[in-house]
């Protein structure tokens, strides 16, 4: 627990220098929102009330500049994401191919909602 920046090691065994890039925002959010000790403070906010998956999606869609800064830009090539659809709200591991297959039929309905949502996301 001494190094300042998390190094990244890939399966080649090669250690990529982490440099001064901030840690991946997704990794940080996952930890600070879902883990860590739960202590009942005086201010009670249940994160259950908050649409975390919506937040996570907005992380790369609504906050495009932020996402770009942390090096996430692949959504620009993802037809599903560029439709600004919402992800399925399912906890736990899932079969990615199956999820993809389930998404497709819902695309049209989402596309119809897109304009309305645009205002919401940008607001």
């Amino acid at each position: 627990m001494t190094a300042a920046q998390p190094p990244v090691v890939q399966n080649s065994g090669q250690v990529l220098p982490a440099g001064h890039e901030p840690a991946n925002l997704g990794d940080i959010l996952e930890r600070v929102l879902d883990r860590g000790i739960v202590i009942a403070g005086d201010i009670r906010v249940s994160l259950l009330d908050i649409e975390l998956l919506t937040l996570k999606l907005r992380l790369v869609i609504a906050s495009v500049d932020t996402a770009r800064q942390i090096g996430i830009d692949w959504w620009e090539h993802d037809p599903w994401l560029s439709s600004r659809a919402r992800p399925p709200v399912e906890p736990g591991p899932r079969d990615p191919e199956e999820v993809d297959a389930q998404r497709r039929p819902r695309l049209e309905a989402r596309a119809r909602r897109r304009d309305a949502e645009l205002e919401e996301w940008d607001g």
């Binding site: 929102l33 883990r35 000790i37």
Partner: protein, 275 residues
Amino acid sequence: MVDVATDLPAATTGAWLHGVVRDADPATLATLATIAGIDGGPVRAVSAAGLVAVVSTAPLDEYGEEPLRRNLEDLVWLERVARAHHAVVEALARRGPVVPARLATVHTDDGRVAGTLAARRAELVAALDRLTGRGEWGVKGFLVPGAATVTAGTAAAGGVGTAYLRRRRAQLTAREERQQLASAAADAVHSALCELAVVGRRHAPQDRRLSGVPAPMVLNGAYLVDVAALPRFKELVGSLGRRHPGLELELTGPWPAYSFVADRPEPALTVGRPG
């Protein structure tokens, strides 16, 4: 001034809890002032029961219940606060063991924080003991696209349509096989890492939008590793990656031990339930 005593204004600031560390001498505690808290101001130490809670002063017009509910939905706000909170916890982790608090743990004053330290003392001390000399490492495994080679469609008899169907069936079978292999490989990698780690936990794989990686994640593990075992742990990740070419492994860390502060993992996404 006594006249207004019955009509005291409500508190305007609270204490945002970052984490709990062992009590230290005043000189060491004074160095906390070099760590920036959620609003950029220095963090403070609240000492009680042989423990120190590290807190930021949190104006309640921004960090009170209603504003928090609203602000947590604001990505820009959430990113700033999450990074600031994490930066404090990380700075503490560089000095020694720390029990990180979940985001948005706010008390109305320092006295209430001290009360929490006293009430949860045994659990916090046990967690600090468990984390001493150890760090959390993350190992993610991504499915390598098209890793399993599909045998080229044989130029068999039959029309174009038959050939297409045969090829399509082979593709689907190959994909299923690849996923089963990746899933088995993820299990094997996790088991092997757990043998070297003090303890390991598998978290739900991150959504592709969150991971920022187009390849599906099949392993999202966290491992508590003794500092002495770290070189062997890193070596093991490398050799496991070579042994399972269908998985791309990514090692991150050291992280503050977010995943190992409770004996029993708390239900995810729940904060501030009365204890």
